[in-house]
Symmetry: C2
Subunit: 477 residues, 2 copies
């Protein structure tokens, strides 16, 4: 008999039919009621066994975590909490889970403990819900771009360039780590390395995406990127996935339109497709918030926060206007910001971004036209000579979720900027070629996928929205 899934059975229950289900025991109570989960959905299937008819040795093996195959008849449930249940006729224990040894018992586990059991934590309700929502978000990303005329492309992971300067990089090498070959002047001879030069893990696929946009028009990458930064925070990973669209002939306004439409689409997609998991996660978050001091609690429940993003246009504000607002704000005057705002040119911190979104505008905010001095070399210089066509999208709770810009398409301006900042022209010869041959206005943005998952699931620590997190001192599994 073919296996059904719990999701299929609960979505369209065929009463009085014989079905077979395989899954794992979540709980077993009164020697009678098995809550069986197979990962297809948050809900369990209640399986009712007749313990008097069951071999006592078999009965003892029905423990939390054990894998079972059950066969029986689907009937209306007499009990509360479910509409249907399975009257078990046949039961096989596929794999035991000894109650003294299996770590994931039906009780509250700390997130820290579960991180140490990252291979097993996916068997909990919380991680099942997070990862199903994450998978739905991932599909929504591909669907959005595909249906809007974008082409997916794979930016290289190993790169010979370290020019982008987005952060510290990991070196990739096959040289003997202890006795590397040396050059005549005593440095490591990377010409003997696998790629014939020093190589690193990419920090961003943007520059390569620009090359592809200048041929295919609209492209996007969705792949892993890396930062070798010693940041042990709840918002940083050494390895994370980025979504980076890049569009020829898009100016900053078109870029902002796209980013807003894109984010609203993917968040709406999970609201439409993952409500059961979201309701569970909302409740989990509410329980967690109760343990925090009042001041640190979120003003919005999870689903309310998602609708806050999907149901209203984002407010667009120049950096200059934002600085005025922040300078005159109550927390600034009362010196409640950790980083007081006193002059134009200051880099905004999360506290400022959240003030603008949560207190001042009470809607998602797009800040644009930032000072050139605090942004990257490739951003389009405005006619004022001091601001660049950069934009950041700010969300409640987390601050910046998207960073993007119109790119500098003018060869002379770009070269001048690279010289000022010491970016190597020789290494980026091909990037300059894009301005030498058929250059045009173009734009793009980047969105850290795990940040989006954090926002959407309400998980406080980014290590809990990726299966096997990589952080300083940690590359287990």
């Amino acid at each position: 008999m073919k296996n059904s899934t719990v999701k299929a059975v609960l979505q369209d229950p065929k009463l009085l039919q014989e079905i077979q289900i395989s899954g794992w025991v979540r709980t077993f109570r009164s020697n009678r009621f098995i809550a069986l989960n197979d990962g297809s959905t948050l809900k369990n299937l209640q399986c009712v066994v007749d313990f008097e008819a069951l071999d006592p040795d078999l009965l003892k093996r029905i423990n939390t975590g054990a894998a079972l195959r059950v066969m029986g008849t689907l009937v209306e449930s007499q009990g509360r909490g479910q509409n249907v249940e399975l009257q078990v006729k046949e039961l096989e224990v596929l794999g035991d889970a000894h109650p003294d040894q299996y770590p994931i018992q039906p009780k509250k586990h700390s997130m820290e403990f579960l991180r140490e059991q990252a291979h097993l934590r996916i068997r909990t309700n919380t991680f099942g819900a997070v990862m199903r929502v994450k998978s739905a978000l991932s599909f929504a990303v591909h669907q959005y771009f595909t249906s809007n005329g974008f082409y997916n492309f794979h930016a290289p992971i190993i790169t010979g360039s370290d020019a982008e300067g987005a952060g510290e990089m990991f070196r990739v090498s096959t040289l003997d780590p202890k006795d590397p070959p040396l050059t005549e002047d005593g440095g490591v001879d990377f010409s003997k390395d696998f790629f014939g030069k020093e190589t690193n893990l990419t920090v961003s696929g943007q520059l390569e995406a620009e090359a592809y946009a200048m041929g295919m028009g609209k492209v996007y990458t969705f792949g892993p990127t890396f930062r070798a930064e010693n940041s042990n925070t709840s918002r940083h990973l050494a390895e994370f996935w980025m979504i980076e669209p890049e569009m020829a002939f898009y100016d900053l306004d078109a870029n902002m339109d796209l980013a807003e439409d894109f984010i609203q689409y993917v968040v709406r997609y999970v609201l439409e497709n993952c409500m059961e998991d979201l309701e569970f996660l909302e409740k989990r978050l509410a329980d967690e918030e109760k343990t925090k001091p009042q001041a640190e609690r979120s003003e919005m429940a999870l689903i309310e926060k998602l609708r806050f993003v999907t149901d209203q246009p984002f407010k667009r504000v120049t950096y200059t206007e934002a600085i005025e607002i922040l300078r005159n704000s109550k927390p600034n005057k009362k010196k409640r910001f950790t980083y007081p705002i006193d002059a134009w040119g200051a880099d905004l911190q999360s506290e400022h971004e959240r003030y603008l979104v949560e207190k001042h505008f009470k809607c998602p905010v797009i800040l644009f036209n930032y000072p050139a001095t605090i942004k990257a070399f490739y951003m389009r210089l405005n006619e004022d000579g001091k601001t660049v066509r950069a934009m950041d999208i700010l969300f409640p709770g987390i601050g910046e979720i998207v960073g993007g810009s119109q790119r500098e398409e003018r060869l002379d301006v770009l070269v001048e900027k690279m010289r000022q900042l010491g970016v190597d022209e020789k290494e980026l010869w091909w990037y300059l070629d894009l301005r030498k041959f058929g250059t045009a206005v173009h734009s793009g943005f980047g969105l850290g996928f795990e940040r989006l998952v954090q926002f959407t699931t309400g998980m406080g620590n980014i290590r809990d929205v990726i299966p096997f997190p990589r952080t300083p001192q940690n590359a287990e599994f």
Copy 2:
């Protein structure tokens, strides 16, 4: 006025309407006909300029590769080769492409030359077609798995494990490459490295996928994997993308059913969605084949080869049967195989795989139940004690395209096998946990995405189906 795309205009031409298009000049002939391409589709839009009304200085700048914005009226075309054309009223050169400097002139370029111009080759018909088909394949992968109840998950790229043994690995490190810290006994002290241990780039996400399948039921990865092997062939990359589904409660038969259905789905998807690009690529391939000796030419045209896969069931044959067929085959008897087949236990080479598919069965073939000695430690041992539940799918032209297996779910058998092969049990403690707690029959397979793209597009060299290939001595861009 909003930009249209060439694809939108040609799909649904609104005659006599004013439209604006931005794109790049492919050719300009008779000072009158611009073939404009914007990457959205293979086809160009013919833009007709009135050269007598145009500023001669502007006219001179309409060169191959230049970026233009044109505005005008869409009319029925009088010429051959297109139904509609744009009568240009306004023309702006956004970016020049000097004919003496721009490398991608409208003539035949060698693939080797284009690889050196990987940032510009996407502006050619061939690479545009390949990358559009590749993008469609990528979307089809996500759509297939999502609509079949699979969850996407991200396997880690940086791994502390080197246990899988699928190939040589790249080391990832932030230690000083010249003077790394040493331990007391003189080895490199990796406890001082970023992750507190030696780390490498992953060769496969399978083991982690197994952990996730044992919680979520059906999962798949689609991400980059790496091999530090010095293989300079047309089929090997140091960095490539793999698709790896993993399913709890699937035995080898269910695994084969899935793999066959999956491949047929994605190939059918491009037949239904990319016919224009496929027809172009078929013609390209036919032209290329003409330059080869008769014996090396493919017997099938590109689209015929795709239908060969979608239109018939795959033949399932045991390894043992295949060896019998090969041993008694004409090329074996006439010693025409480079590696003659004389005994059970031999590893099959591409020549044998292609013989089975192209000459003997004349359909895609799934070989299964391989000798345990030539397969990996995690494959399910059969009751005969000498074969494992492995399967490979063989395709015309390329040989193996999929490799998979039912996984060994029995703790004692797995541990015994790891000891025999010297696989470190301590390092894979978490993998063994999956057999200690709630173990069950499960299966999965891996498909190298670029190999699939090669098959689907007919490109002879794998370096031409990835934007910026990484191979020994080459990590440019």
